[in-house]
């Protein structure tokens, strides 16, 4: 312990008498770590923003009835031609409804599954929004508001009004922002809608919905599930989509396969539907770490250089220390601790720099129509990054200090004393 104290006192004098070089070495680390913190906080902030934009909103598994040709055509049932090569022209899908058959028992089955966090049934209908003589093509989806809010953060996309108002108003509608703009409609106004089957309905606007994706906001509106079913002249069991949220997103692909095998429906999982988001995230992470490591390697070379120079300058000191009873290991620690202190001070300043700049970015206004709930640039203040940052700083300076320190350890005092 006392040994440690003397080593530190020697270290301190070495560092203080070379204050300029020491500060430059530490600044290199500060810069590297600061950049790392800024990059990683901003990048992951951006990542979770984008993920939130799509992934939070997206069901883990979506169950629907896809209109497609039968995978087994009539001729394939005929035993006489079992061995034959079939050529069928002009295959058309069978006439069927877009509803899910037996949706209600299916929902009960999903709810009983313990992997499932919750489900939200939907009923989609093609409609025309009427504005004077103008008819705008569109889509109205009947939803269960409570479930949509609870499971898929629906409220984040309601920019005016409250989604809960939909529950109270049976003929209420959450109108797409694009449609509202095109038709100059506002909260509290009424809108006429023609269903594809010909019925006409008057709806009251209780909210404006904006997803940030124009192609959705220009056509999509939401009403209560029951309202949409009435629209279509159908009963309570008319469900076109079942959106499932799982406790663990990783189970989505296997769950989707199971559902397709068990029921006669199509099921698509979030991973398949949004593969590009995973890729984007991992590429952004890769860039962040590559840039930071490069900066730290550069800072590490700076430290290596300065310690190497210091050791040449301090040859005499090293010889004296060894002649008066300091071991090679003591001398090694003198130089390693210098690297360590440079790394620690530089690293802590780097964390501070990173934090301050992150706060500045976090307070920089960032307004875009595409992201209605965002007002400033996103920053992720995960403390883990700060821990990684300081570990980075210490380990890179340790490696930079290791070789010079080892050299100092092996210096033969006799060579130095003889050389004088």
């Amino acid at each position: 312990m006392s040994n440690f104290k003397i080593i530190l006192s020697i270290t301190r004098i070495h560092l203080l008498t070379r204050f300029k070089q020491t500060s430059i070495a530490a600044l290199g680390v500060t810069f590297g770590i600061g950049t790392f913190i800024i990059l990683v906080s901003f990048m992951t902030g951006l990542n979770s923003l984008l993920d939130g934009l799509v992934l939070n909103r997206t069901p883990h598994v979506r169950v629907y009835n896809e209109i497609k040709p039968s995978s087994k055509q009539a001729i394939e049932f005929a035993n006489e031609y079992a061995e034959a090569f079939h050529v069928i022209h002009s295959i058309k899908p069978k006439l069927s409804q877009t509803r899910i058959h037996n949706a209600l028992p299916m929902i009960n089955a999903f709810l009983a599954d313990e992997r499932v966090k919750g489900i939200s049934p939907q009923c989609a209908a093609q409609v025309f929004y009427l504005a004077g003589s103008l008819e705008l093509n569109g889509r109205i989806t009947g939803i269960n508001v409570e479930e949509e809010v609870g499971l898929f953060n629906f409220q984040e996309y309601v920019v005016e009004g409250k989604p809960e108002d939909l529950i109270k108003t049976s003929n209420g509608v959450l109108l797409g922002a694009g449609i509202a703009k095109k038709m100059s409609l506002h909260l509290g106004d009424r809108i006429q809608v023609n269903s594809s089957s010909g019925g006409r309905f008057a709806l009251k606007i209780v909210g404006i919905f904006q997803s940030g994706l124009a192609e959705i906001d220009d056509v999509q509106s939401y009403v209560n599930l029951r309202t949409a079913q009435t629209f279509l002249g159908e009963g309570k069991d008319y469900i076109s989509d079942i959106n499932i949220k799982l406790w663990d997103m990783e189970e989505a692909p296997s769950m989707a396969k199971e559902i397709e095998a068990q029921f006669n429906v199509s099921a698509i999982d979030i991973k398949t539907a949004n593969a590009q988001f995973d890729t984007g995230t991992s590429i952004r992470n890769l860039i962040t770490y590559a840039v930071s490591i490069t900066l730290l390697v550069v800072a590490g070379f700076g430290i290596y250089n300065i310690l190497n120079m210091l050791i040449y300058e301090k040859m005499n000191d090293i010889a004296i220390l060894k002649a008066t009873g300091f071991s090679g290991r003591d001398v090694q620690w003198i130089f390693l601790s210098q690297a360590f202190i440079i790394g620690l001070i530089g690293g802590i300043l780097g964390l501070l720099l990173g934090f301050v700049v992150s706060v500045m970015i976090d307070n920089t206004p960032f307004v875009t129509d595409a992201l209605p709930t965002i007002t400033t640039y996103p920053i992720d203040y995960n403390p883990m990054y700060y821990i990684i940052g300081i570990v980075f700083a210490l380990s890179s300076t340790f490696f930079a200090g290791y070789l010079p320190a080892k050299k100092a350890k092996n210096i033969d005092p006799v060579d130095i004393i003889r050389g004088q």
């Binding site: 005499n316 000191d317 004296i320 002649a323 008066t324 090679g328 006799v414 004088q420």
Partner: protein, 225 residues
């Protein structure tokens, strides 16, 4: 016969670079407790080389080396460093001090490394030793700020601080004028007489050597009695 502080048995040393060269040939010698021994010999005969071996800094030799009854060959670097710290004081021809440290810190450092006394006790010891050598006013100056003769005395103070068994010097007065050289000799003599400290000093100075208890004469790599 008195107790032996230092003893060598048939020490041989070779240099391999640039040419194979047998520097020390069967060196057997000893220093008794409280004895003041000087080594003389012509330049290049191997005095410094021998001293580096005796001081445990050079471990690349053949033969046996004993200090204070303990056999030193075969010990590892860590153990030898501890022995150097506790039992050997070394004074070089060139006053080797840590330039950025104060005189006092230079003197205290080996004692702090030894770690047997508190910082306060070490400070008192160091000041006493500096006083003994007549340089207590220099204690708080940077080591680089004092004169050559003063530096040499600081180096002696540093060698004394842990009360070693033996003090070795390689031409410790070589760089000093005759007045300062006498001064250093008197300090050594006094310590030898009063404290029973052993000295082994390489010197080219006949007058200096004559005043010591015994002179070891070296020829090329050998001891001439």
């Amino acid at each position: 016969m008195k107790k032996l502080v230092l003893q060598t048995k048939k020490v041989n040393k070779y240099f391999k670079n640039p040419l194979p060269f047998h520097v020390l040939k069967d060196i057997s010698m000893h220093v008794e407790e409280g004895e003041f021994v000087s080594i003389m010999g012509k330049s290049g005969c191997g005095k410094s080389t021998l001293l580096y071996i005796l001081s445990t800094m050079d471990t690349d030799y053949e033969g046996d080396l004993f200090l204070d009854g303990q056999k030193l060959n075969g010990l590892n670097g860590e153990e030898l460093a501890a022995i150097r710290n506790e039992k050997i004081g070394f004074v070089f021809q060139f006053h080797y001090l840590l330039a950025e440290f104060t005189v006092l810190e230079n003197v205290m450092l080996p004692a702090k490394k030894l770690g047997k006394k508190s910082e306060k006790e070490i400070l008192v010891d160091a000041m006493d030793t500096l006083r003994l050598l007549g340089i207590e006013e220099q204690a708080h100056k940077k080591a680089s700020m004092i004169s050559g003769g003063q530096k040499q005395r600081v180096a002696i103070a540093r060698a004394l601080i842990n009360h070693p068994k033996i003090i070795m010097g390689d031409e410790p007065t070589g760089n000093l004028d005759s007045k300062n050289a006498d001064n250093v000799f008197n300090i050594f003599k006094k310590l030898s007489d009063e404290r029973g400290l052993s000295f082994l000093v390489v010197t080219h100075d006949e007058d200096f050597a004559k005043k010591t208890d015994r002179i070891i004469s070296m020829g090329d790599g050998i001891i001439e009695e």
